[in-house]
Symmetry: C2
Subunit: 251 residues, 2 copies
């Protein structure tokens, strides 16, 4: 790609949108400039553009995103049949298990939630479509990494900041690779409080008719409610059932 095939104004604008988040629901020009590391004048123009197009509101001091911004993500969600397809199955799965059920895909070193059915809020983190978690310490992440050729999985782990979120988090690359082998063999991954204390989860791959892994499904539960060692016994049959039902339907 040539230098001139890159629209930096566009790239800068996208960076500005991403500056908004849970901790920063409203931003001043200076704040957005600090977060994005762009010039204040540049950020101002991007924000005014967003505001002019109705993607943001401006009260003279703070900018906030409007629901119109959801059109952008919606372009993906509606263009990809997967989220709509799995949603009703997740709903059923979630009701039957009495726990949250989710589906996600891999994006770089992270898993991205594309659909979710929650029974109650079990985590301090709030998950919804579009939410991201590091792949190495999430059950769906393990399943998705296990589906890759080992060299690719290694490559992703190398690019990941393997930090210990809890004392139980596995952070040694070799240990993780070994774990991925186990996951590949047994067909599911169990996470015991590696992401957050008190939370464990179990995931299976979602395959299409040709056997390609296109996503992962999981059930998350509070550790106080279900011990990690019981996860497979209690929820694996339900997950396998959903996996089998979806297999002929995806892609």
């Amino acid at each position: 790609m040539r230098e001139t095939d890159f629209v930096s104004g566009f790239a800068r604008g996208l960076k500005v949108i991403e500056a908004f988040g849970e901790a920063q629901p409203r931003l001043t020009i200076a704040e957005a400039a600090k977060i994005t590391d762009l010039d204040r004048a540049t950020v101002r123009r991007s924000l005014l553009t967003l505001s002019e197009l109705g993607y943001a509101d401006y009260d003279g001091k703070f900018f906030t995103l409007t629901p119109k911004i959801l059109r952008l993500g919606h372009a993906y969600l509606s263009a990809t049949p997967l989220p709509a397809l799995v949603q009703p199955y997740l709903d059923q799965l979630s009701v039957k298990a009495g726990q949250s059920a989710s589906a996600s895909v891999l994006d770089g070193t992270e898993v991205v939630y594309v659909a979710r059915a929650s029974q109650r809020r079990v985590m301090s983190i709030n998950l919804m479509p579009g939410s991201r978690l590091p792949a190495y310490c999430a059950s769906m992440g393990r399943v998705l990494l296990a589906a890759l050729p080992e060299t690719e999985a290694r490559e992703i782990l190398k690019r990941t900041e393997l930090k210990a979120n809890t004392p139980l988090t596995k952070t040694d690359p070799e240990e993780l690779i070994e774990e991925l082998r186990r996951v590949r063999e047994q067909g599911y991954a169990v996470i015991d409080q590696e992401l957050e204390l008190g939370l464990c989860s179990i995931a299976v791959p979602l395959m299409n008719a040709r056997g390609q892994v296109v996503a992962a499904l999981n059930i998350g539960a509070p550790a106080a409610h279900v011990a990690a060692s019981e996860l497979a016994e209690r929820y694996l049959p339900l997950l396998k059932e959903t996996q089998a039902a979806l297999r002929p339907l995806v892609q």
Copy 2:
């Protein structure tokens, strides 16, 4: 706003993202140019920029959006406490009613779904966070329009293409204004197959502690299952309960 405070490259890029959708999950440069009504060279640069940033994939012919694009909508969903807050209540509501439950806000002439819990898929249209429906013929739209000063509601109806989706759709502005008065008075809106034959729904406003309407909640049901005339009897108590539970929690 001055002319030079607008970054047209950014605006054009956003338009390109929105070109993707249910009917157009994969686009060539020429297709995207036709949809957006932009010059091919411009669209090409935008698409290559998206691809370079990881928001899109390019196989040399087709561009597709990647899950990374969800970061943009996620910036709104996580920045706005509402979706996360109402989700567990919708889940409960959906289970109790045995029907789909949703929350939405108004964006121009449309309602935008910000959270949803579905029991099964009842509509030909697939709804999910970010989905949009015309406000005039949706139950949540009626509730949200009814919450506006009448002049504003009129203004929005004037900008709306009031088309008859079914023989039951109300399309006369005066009749709609009259209906909004009724909705305001009774505190809920019922839609009987005005959007799609076979689908009816009931919605209530979601107010904050100060009594401002911040969103709408609804339950949708197949007409074959529940007649529109029974909706209020069957589901209004559940909706009112949820409305009351959420009232002290929002904003």
